[in-house]
Amino acid sequence: MSEALYSYTVLIPAVLFISFLITGLFGGKMNPLISGFISTAAILFGLVVSYYTAYQYFIVDGLVEGAYPTHVAFDMVWLSFTSTLSINLGVLIDPISILLLVVVTTVSSMVHIYSFGYMKGEFGFARFYSFLSLFSFSMIGLVVASNLFEMYMFWELVGVSSYLLIGYYYQKPAAVNASKKAFIVTRFADFGFLTGMLLLAYFTGTFDLVALTDPNGLAIASAPVMGFMGLSVVTWAVGLIFIGGAGKSAMFPLHIWLPDAMEGPTPVSALIHAATMVVAGVYLVARLFPIYVFSAPDALEMVAIVGAFTSLFAAIIAVTQTDIKRVLAFSTMSQIGYMMLALGVSGYGGEAGTGYMASMFHLFTHAMFKSLLFLGAGAIIHAVHSNYMTEMGNLRKYLPITHITFLIAALAISGIYPMSGFFSKDEILVAAMANNPVYFWIEWAVAGLTAFYMFRLYFSIFWGEKREYEHTPHEAPLSMTIPLLLLAVASAVVGFIPFSQFVSSDSIPFDVHIHWNIAIPSLLIAAAGIGVAAFMYLKPSMTPDKVAGRLSRIYRLSYNKFYIDEIYLWFTHTIIFGIVSQAASWFDRHIIDGFLNGLASLTNVVSEKTKTLQSGQLQHYGIYMVSGVLALFLIFIYWIS
């Protein structure tokens, strides 16, 4: 493990941070476009360095003793609690951190370029770019963190950046509420992360990720086996950490913030809520994967269950939504459920670790096509000035480039060969089948639903009814279409990368091949989904309404997102506000305030009584003084002798 190698990777977050400072502090005084250029230059620099690092790591340096080595490229002790327990700031280089570096910088660069066109003329253009720089800095910091606490710090920073970006249109009350909701829900989940992390550090004695995740290391083995309610302490710790990850990744039931977060500008949705921040939870579980797999298999089981449930849940809701960004948001939730499930069913080492590899692969491909979908949606919204697919139709004539790229992305997400989504989804289904066929069937159904709602979206926008638009929709400017094209190429081609040669659970490459006994059913159900969607939406017809009428109860449940928000609100108002808050505020007002007021009135009373001592009468003072002197005289001469 050489520390000097790859030490240039610390420049990536550093440059982004400097860009944030410059655009943040001076953005208001410069021409806004300059802020945009500085920020874009910083992220492109990061992109180049990430690709170079990936090239160096995978191609030039390659395998060391049969596995990809873990380097700590930069390390600095920041806060030291004991000789072994300290918070370091460092950069960790291993296959998944390089993967995420590439993903984050690529998507972020595309979003930076896209925003030149999308946010053009907006008030606060410079502010947007400085927030984008802040977010990129935080995300990259999170991804390359070498110390669990450092990861937590950047985790919180990412949450703050998300808050700032969702609430970008701060004059819209809906946006402000959405940003608050996102921040509060993720913060609440982060409490679980913090507790779990502290538990883990307390019992294993270290925050350092390399030490924690070393399968042969002492950190895991030295954690006492004692448990609480039947589960070992490590299970509790990583379970709590997973709750933090679930909040950030919008897993049920902490998913409520993600649909509302669509109030932010579309490039923000593409960057944060599709490709990067929401996968932070998945990355966290992947990072701590050896702990999960060896010491806390129960927690891993929970990860799988939550992932599977969320993917089904979100897919059902996505079927009925009419706001195109919300469809994409629920789709993101569903796909992240896939990633979590893949991690949950994975084993360790070689073929058994297929789930891990598949999860990371899906993360990569999903980032590409989901951000493409969002950016395309942005181009559509920009052209039509509306978010609702009920007001769109027949746009393929007006937006050709957007149309083609959107189609490629929709095929990718539905898992149609040869798009990238096919390969990654196939691996996930293989891993699911190997663990438990129930998971496989659930995910198979979800694949069908995914294809259905995705193509419902596609057909409603680009085919469907011929509408009269008030002003003719025009294709997006070049700054917006170039990222679309680049991402479309990526979505199509990336599937052919032999991913398992690079990323695997124990960093040792292994071979995979397409399991046709899994792939063919998944292709069939996807085709079926597309077919049904085409039947219902390709041409304007009454079929959707008839179907909705037949399944009206399910339709309403799905359309209202299963009333989860209402349940939370009811719980908050009736139980928390009504019972807990009432008691707490009564306590605060009567006992705490009463105590302090009592102190104050006591002081008042005492002072009223004793103020007469200062009567202004010289002779009173004299008597007090002489009495005091005599008393002292008595004490010193007679008592203390």
Binding site: K611, T612, Q614, S615, G616, Q617, L618, Q619, I623, V626
Partner: protein, 105 residues
């Protein structure tokens, strides 16, 4: 002569006058009467110093010099006190000490 009168007797006299002065200081309402009581106190102290000097330290003159200075200081203090009393009389038209009480709560 000296041996017949023990030094404690001088002290008793001085102490009696001292406490009489203190009694007067606390009891009198007229400021000038208070001043007179203060002079009594100072005088008593002088007597005490001189007695100790004569009986216990006959080869030093510290006590007497100290008494000399006490007399000087008493004179100065009486002068300033009377100036203040006259000023107070001009303002308040009375020299009752109980009327001079504005520095209170």
């Amino acid at each position: 002569m000296l041996a017949d009168i023990p030094v404690e007797h001088y002290s008793y006299v001085a102490l009696f006058v001292f406490f009489a002065g203190i009694y007067g200081f606390f009891t009198r309402k007229n400021m000038i009467a208070m001043l007179i009581s203060i002079e009594l106190i100072l005088n008593a102290i002088n007597l005490q110093f001189v007695a100790f000097n004569k009986y216990l330290y006959p080869d030093l003159m510290e006590g007497m010099i100290f008494s000399l200075f006490i007399i000087g200081v008493a004179a100065a203090e009486a002068a300033v006190a009377i100036a203040i009393i006259i000023n107070v009389y001009r303002r308040l038209k009375t020299i009752n000490i109980e009327k001079v009480n504005s520095m209170k709560y």
